[in-house]
Symmetry: C2
Subunit: 155 residues, 2 copies
């Protein structure tokens, strides 16, 4: 349990449900991490399409729902999924996480907090339906994604 | 575009961002579907742990965030990901979707609407922090998941 606790990344992302993590297989931790990132990716692509690339397809409710999903991913404590044993790909379950994401707590916390703030701001702005503000908040969120990818994701 | 439109499942899940779906590879559609389901699964397991199996670990904010994530998955229009070409596994990208989920529009709509209502109710109840109500809403949501799995998921 201490091993799990010390692996929690950033207070903003920490989670106390040891009942879940004590029994979690490392390959499942990778699976759930990737699920969260893929949900972010799909919803970012929807917002990009509706707010930037094809504004004629803008649908306020769909943009708001997409932004809410991204914020929900930011708020659900994914840091807790970086458990011991999940540092490398396990068979078909590939991870592109760099070793540093497991060790550089301060650096990870910094990008995680920035992403969390940007994603929640995007959800807030999306709820207003203001296209210009949404496009800006989308770009800010994308930049906060990229900051983490550049530092902690392979290739 | 018509091919995509006719594959949209249920008005509650339809989505008009053809700019996204026109260019989507079937394997990516499967990937994003699985991402949504895996996010639901992880968050359901957290709520089960905190509200039922290990109530001493109950954390109102974490339960609320988990329930919000599940509701966000229910609201983000996953029905639009059941595109032509994504009926069967593609290489390593496995799908357990039965053929019926692509054809039985009325049946799919029924289970989808029930899940959507249950997940949004769970999020609403989780925001109150009422443990008893959360446990009940969790069970109702789980039942609505199972109703779809029994009918439209292989094995």
């Amino acid at each position: 349990m201490n091993a799990i606790k010390t692996l929690l990344i950033g207070t903003a992302l920490s989670i106390a449900t040891t009942a879940v993590y004590a029994d979690m297989k490392p390959e499942d931790a990778i699976k759930y991490r990737k699920a969260g990132y893929n949900v972010m990716s799909w919803n970012m692509s929807k917002i990009k399409a509706m707010a930037i690339d094809a504004p004629e397809s803008f649908d306020a409710k769909q943009v708001a729902n997409a932004a809410t999903a991204i914020a929900a991913m930011a708020n659900m404590g994914m840091g807790a999924l970086y458990i011991a044993g999940s540092e490398e790909s396990i068979g078909d379950m590939k991870t592109r996480a760099k070793a540093e994401i497991f060790t550089d707590k301060d650096g990870v916390k910094e990008v995680a907090v920035k992403f969390n703030q940007a994603a929640n701001e995007l959800a807030k702005v999306a709820a207003t339906g203001d296209k210009v503000a949404i496009a800006q908040a989308f770009k800010d969120t994308g930049a906060s994604c990229k900051a983490c990818h550049d530092k902690y994701r392979k290739e």
